[in-house]
């Protein structure tokens, strides 16, 4: 074996590249990891709620449409206005929840 050959696995010199993070850096890294985890969980929960809301919205819209087409044209059903109000609130909720989505990197 030739003397003086560089062997990285035997290198013990601590440089800026291979230096271990200190306690502060470890804390930052850990908190960032936790934050990402929380964001991902929040996004998953929000996605679940979005799916539920859009399903409910579609169901109410279907009911409203069938009520309005089935009923006599002379009078509107009393709960139709309530259903329209529910659709409005659900659509608002879907919009706001989708705006809150956080990109996890």
């Amino acid at each position: 074996m030739t003397m003086g050959t560089f062997r990285p696995d035997k290198a013990t010199t601590v440089t800026a590249v291979n230096k271990r993070p200190d306690a502060n850096q470890l804390s930052v890294i850990n908190s960032r990891r936790v934050q990402l985890h929380l964001f991902a969980a929040a996004n998953a929960e929000r996605m679940r709620q979005l799916t539920d809301d859009s399903t409910r919205l579609l169901q109410i819209a279907t009911e409203l449409n069938s009520e309005l087409t089935e009923v006599d044209k002379a009078d509107l059903p009393a709960q139709a206005a309530t259903k329209a109000d529910m659709i409005e609130q659900l659509a608002h909720a879907v919009k706001e929840k989708m705006k809150l989505t956080v990109a996890v990197q």
Partner: protein, 148 residues
Amino acid sequence: MLLRIEHKRKNHNPPAAAGYLRRWFKPGTLAWMLLFALLPAGYLLHSQSPNPNQPIPGPDASRPLDANQIMSMRDQQNKKTNVDAANAERKKQIADDSAKLLKLATDLKTEVDKTSKDTLSLGVIRKAEEIEKLAHSVKEKMKLSMGN
């Protein structure tokens, strides 16, 4: 006393006018005259008695309508026609809007199902906003229709 009265009766000579009256006012004649006299009165009384089923006409019931009243009646009829037409149009719009709502809701559901949990979909936001506005419009139109 009794004899005196009998004497008075025998001496009593009725005048000629009294005989004439007695001849005319026989019991049968009198009854006929009363009947003829009471018939028209009874008819009038019957015709003027108030009927509980019919409203009592006011003093100006038979009076023809003047120009103002005719104009007011026509105005009311026109307003009623306009309100009915507006209601029918509104109901048609509500039915159309509800069909549109159903289509938008179906699109929104499809779009939400396609979106992943880390994606912010502008299409979903846009569609949700459109649904919100349309539902608000439908609600207001329904309130107008119910309020009339």
